[in-house]
């Protein structure tokens, strides 16, 4: 079968060997856990508990009235020690609920007790929201919102994103190998919810064991495995839709505008656990890797666990750490400290030594065209870079800068080591700032 792919993209070294065959290790919860309230895209949450309260494991500790939002649950039982400003995964201090683990792991009532087969689509959506499920790939968009398209948008394709195109990361692969039944159960529910008879799972060809296992298990379920060529950023929503069903999401539109819903494979497993057992999202898989980590691992971590605890569980560091990355090396955010806790979107934790953090001087663009060839959105990164540095907003908009998804492929290939995506990012921020100013007037 021909492998599916998209146009453009890059081939960074996968670096997945360090962890791809390592089974999940369940990490015991630390003594103190931190739950920052902003872990999703949407309305901010309000704490439902106060300092001194006792909370149970899987108890809801924060929620919002708004539809576009997702509640938060404790991953341990214990006492609320503090509600205050602490460092989160965006390197800023935000309102955080701090819980002292009492080591009893006393569980709250499940969020529902109905049989999974009796659930109506709307009940499923309600449970998915109640379970606090957001996109586990990193973006953190509330899943129930994604599953509630407006009535005029007919959904024809459900696509499961298991491409995991970021180097180092292997959490999706471990989900496929170790939570296979949850995935299939979750997909059956989702097909019922969306009234579809088929769905597609996109997996890159560098995970043959996961492809073989799923191929075997999905027989007769209507789930189809689509093998994708290993290429970054295959896991981008618009690129995976393009590879699997040949459709192009129009600029500024959403996947649902072409009848597609794309869901990360880890999210599917979470959906199943919420629907089948009433378990809310309270832990996740984190790949801990990078050249400074002694023993790279795939950890199954209670949400709220500080990074330092994960590093210790992986045998500590073997080299001086110069960079902490939350997520993959292409789009992940560099962290300022190992005190930052694991949140719903933490797919990976990478620690790099000096070897990977050397700074190189920017040189003049030699117009080699590599950035243009790799741009998956078919933009002209070097042109955008030039106008972005000049701050020429009109020309930037004309050249579709807002269509850039910041995958970083241009910066990766640039032989002159220009900070292309970084300067494009600044250009986008300038545009947003200008627009916000105009809106105020």
């Amino acid at each position: 079968m021909a492998k599916l792919t998209f146009s453009g993209g890059i081939h960074p070294s996968g670096k997945k060997n360090a962890t791809k065959d390592k089974p999940l290790v369940e990490l015991a919860a630390p003594e103190v856990l931190y739950f920052p309230l902003g872990q999703h895209i949407g309305a901010p949450l309000k704490p439902l508990v106060s300092v001194g309260d006792r909370v149970l494991k899987m108890q809801k500790i924060a929620d919002a009235e708004a539809f576009v939002s997702a509640p938060l649950h404790s991953s341990v039982s214990g006492k609320v020690k503090d509600i205050g400003m602490y460092l989160n995964h965006t390197n800023s201090k935000v309102l955080t609920i701090v819980i002292e683990n009492d080591g009893l792991y006393e569980e709250a009532e499940p969020i529902h007790t109905q049989s999974i087969d009796d659930l109506s689509p709307n009940e499923m959506r309600r449970i998915i929201r109640e379970a606090g499920i957001v996109g586990m790939g990193g973006a953190g968009f509330p899943t129930h919102v994604k599953l509630s398209p407006p009535e005029d948008k007919e959904i024809t394709h459900l696509i499961v994103n298991a491409a995991e195109c970021e180097p180092y990361l292997t959490s999706d692969r471990r989900v496929m190998l170790e939570m296979t039944d949850d995935i299939i159960g979750g997909l059956k529910c989702l097909m019922r919810l969306l009234n579809l008879s088929k769905c597609y799972v996109g997996i890159e060809d560098n995970a043959p064991e996961a492809i073989a296992l799923l191929e075997e298990k999905v027989k007769g379920t209507g789930i189809e495995i689509k093998v994708l060529k290993k290429k970054y950023p295959q896991g981008s929503e618009k690129q995976i839709i393009n590879a699997i069903c040949g459709k192009e999401v129009p600029m500024g539109k959403l996947p649902m505008d072409v009848g597609c819903i794309v869901i990360n494979i880890g999210t599917v497993a979470e959906i199943y656990r919420a629907l089948a057992y009433g378990i809310p999202l309270h832990r996740r898989i984190v790949t801990v890797s990078g050249d400074a980590i002694s023993n790279p691992s795939n950890l199954y971590v209670p949400l709220g666990t500080p990074f330092s605890y994960l590093v210790d569980a992986c045998g500590g560091t073997n080299e001086e750490v110069h960079k902490i990355i939350m997520g993959g090396p292409m789009m992940g955010i560099a962290g300022v400290s190992l005190d930052i806790p694991v949140v719903k979107g933490t797919s990976g934790l990478l620690l790099f030594s000096e070897k990977y953090t050397r700074h190189e001087e920017e040189l003049n663009c030699i117009r080699c065209g590599r950035c243009v060839n790799v741009c998956p959105m078919k933009l002209l990164p070097t042109t955008l870079d030039m106008y972005s540095r000049r701050g020429d907003i009109e020309i930037l908009i004309e050249n579709n800068i807002l269509n850039c998804m910041e995958c970083g492929s241009c910066t990766y290939v640039c032989p002159s080591k220009r900070h292309l995506v970084q300067s494009i990012r600044l250009g986008k921020q300038k545009i947003n700032a200008t627009r916000a100013k105009e809106a105020k007037k």
């Binding site: 192009e248 960079k323 663009c365 998956p376 933009l379």
Partner: protein
């Protein structure tokens, strides 16, 4: 944990660097240099070394004088020097090398802002300047195997095949095999098609250049000279003489592919190469001048910004110009 670096993603980068690309270009030019030394003697290497030293030195001095960062380590000046030498006859005196280098580096490159900002190929500008100023020196073609290091006063000269095509009295046309291997009169770097091809293959394998520009350029010249042969020649002979001489391979592989002065998109590169091919044919056929490769490339360099504007890629998701395919 004392020195945590926080920077904007991506956090990894490819190993390809400008200096590495330029090193590859220099390596790719070596077979042609060896061929030239074989046919024209060690003086070919001497002229090449001279031009490279003058180009790099000029860039260094200029940047020191005007107080800009010195960028000679990126290798672009060395490539310019080598290409300039390849466009000179082996009998060129040292001061021709110096003037050509200064024109190439200072006027064509640094006046416009240095590497990446020049709008014409510096080596070709240097050559065009020299050809216009010292036409006799610049068209004195030494016969292969007639010199060593020192060019004797009564050097045996040999007209280039294209000159012979224009003026049959100038000499006898060489055989195709000799032309392919490089046994003919011409500039230092242009004579051996075989050696240039070898370098071109190396550049394609190393992904420094794509085959788009060289193949389109050479094919365009081949087709035009085949369909409209020179008087007195068969279509095939006309095509062969035209593609195997006059620096077409040197220009198509090493000069028209110059990143800075050629279009950035694939479609643009094909239009650019087509233009080079058509202009080369027109100049050779209808102009007074027998060659044409360098002027064609220079002219197309000038329209490159326009081509870039016409051939902007269709952004992903711009369904106004093309409907998104349905499964």
């Amino acid at each position: 944990m004392e020195k945590i670096i926080v920077s904007s993603s991506p956090h990894i980068k490819d190993n390809v660097r400008t200096s590495g690309i330029m090193r590859d270009v220099l390596i790719a030019l070596i077979p042609a240099l060896i061929a030239s030394v074989f046919y024209f003697g060690i003086r070919a290497a001497y002229i090449t070394a001279l031009c490279m030293i003058f180009c790099v030195g000029t860039e260094f001095l200029w940047q020191k004088i005007v107080g800009r960062p010195v960028t000679i380590c990126d290798g672009t000046a060395a490539v310019t020097g080598m290409l300039l030498a390849f466009n000179l006859p082996v009998s060129a005196p040292w001061w021709i090398c110096l003037i050509g280098s200064v024109v190439a580096i200072v006027i064509a490159k640094q006046f416009f802002g240095g590497v990446g900002h020049n709008f014409m190929n510096p080596a070709l500008v240097g050559r065009a300047f020299l050809l216009a100023s010292w036409p006799v020196i610049m068209t004195k073609w030494t016969k292969p195997f007639s010199t060593g290091f020192i060019i004797p006063a009564d050097v045996v000269t040999s007209a280039t095949p294209l000159a012979i095509l224009k003026n049959p009295e100038a000499g006898a046309l060489p055989g195709f095999l000799d032309m392919f291997l490089g046994k003919l009169g011409g500039c230092i770097g242009e004579v051996s098609t075989a050696a240039l091809l070898l370098g071109g293959i190396y550049l394609v394998i190393r992904k420094v250049i794509s085959v788009r520009i060289p193949i389109t350029y050479i094919l365009t010249v081949a087709v035009l000279t085949f369909v409209f042969p020179s008087t007195g020649l068969s279509a095939f002979d006309s095509m062969m003489y035209n593609i195997l001489s006059g620096g077409l391979f040197l220009g198509a592989i090493f000069m028209a592919t110059d990143y800075v002065t050629s279009p950035i998109t694939s479609r643009g590169q094909i239009i650019f190469a087509l233009g080079c091919g058509i202009l080369t044919f027109v100049i050779r056929r209808f102009g007074a001048y027998p060659e044409g490769v360098s002027y064609s490339i220079l002219l197309m360099n000038v329209v490159t910004p326009l081509i870039d504007r016409w051939t902007k890629p269709r952004p992903f998701g711009n369904t106004k110009t093309k409907k998104g395919g349905v499964q």
